[in-house]
Amino acid sequence: MKKILVVDDSSTVRQQVGMALQQAGYAVVEAGDGVEGLAMLEKGGISMVICDVNMPRMSGLDMLENLKRDARHANIPVVMLTTEGHPGLVERAKKAGAKGWIVKPFKAELMIAAVGKLVGA
């Protein structure tokens, strides 16, 4: 079973995303900010990351850039899930190696379709 790391400072969003992923057959682990997210990656076994942008301690974009600098994690696909839709931020994420961008409130079927395309069922 593919394991997805969901990083968001809102526990409600983590629950909401987690339920949708679990119903689609994925295992889910959670982190509340970028620092926790990077720590979860160290435990291994993560197939994909879904990550908020605005978070305390370490933002999603900073976490993305850290992750991509680490050869052990650089190939893990990352999709940003955020209220932000500004083209400048989207471009920064794309340049840093993100594979996609979803604007909250998200539609579960779109998110699951994106996950399926990136890591398979």
């Binding site: 932000e84 604007v103 998110m111």
Partner: protein, 170 residues
């Protein structure tokens, strides 16, 4: 703030709030007489700051229990935590609506206040946006200060802007 700028901000805030709650299947109706907000019992208030070259200020979203509980996407979610996320999503919508008007905002992370009668003290007289729904009320204070000379009627290119609920793969 001139009346044209004020009108654009008011439309952005009002439309954003209506569409956000609509997404969570809770239709709101704007109440024109904002003074009624003084008699509304509010449960929680989510607060975010925002800043940018063109505008800075604070957004406060406060609701009574009913709209907060009915919009929560999970049954066991903390209402305190949910008002913070709702405020974040509301300001995200407002921010995206202001991008075509040349405004780029940076948002803080939300914090939550609790109280029965929440009445912020803004920099100037500021009426809340008051909305009613079946069984409750929603109030929004959008305390914004524009940089002198900013003209929101001037539209800018928004190619690449991703709207709420949309996704894209690179």
């Amino acid at each position: 703030m001139n009346s044209e700028n004020a009108k654009i901000i008011e439309q952005s805030v009002s439309d954003s709030c209506l569409s956000l709650f609509e997404h969570y299947q809770l239709p709101l109706v704007r109440v024109d007489d904002a003074s009624q907000a003084e008699s509304v019992q509010l449960l929680f208030c989510g607060v975010l700051g925002f800043s940018g070259e063109q505008m800075r200020g604070t957004l406060l979203l406060a609701t009574s229990r009913e709209p907060l509980g009915r919009t929560s996407p999970t049954s066991d979610a903390s209402l305190r935590e949910w008002i913070a996320e709702l405020a974040n999503q509301l300001l995200g919508r407002i921010k995206n609506r202001l991008i075509p008007h040349g405004v780029t905002l940076h948002l803080s992370t939300p914090l939550v206040l609790r109280g029965l009668h929440i009445a912020p003290l803004p920099r100037a007289e500021l009426a809340p946006y008051l909305f009613a729904c079946d069984g409750g009320n929603v109030c929004v204070w959008f305390d914004a200060e524009l940089t002198p000379g900013v003209d929101l009627t001037k539209m800018v290119e928004t190619e690449g802007l991703i709207g709420e609920g949309m996704s894209t793969l690179f």
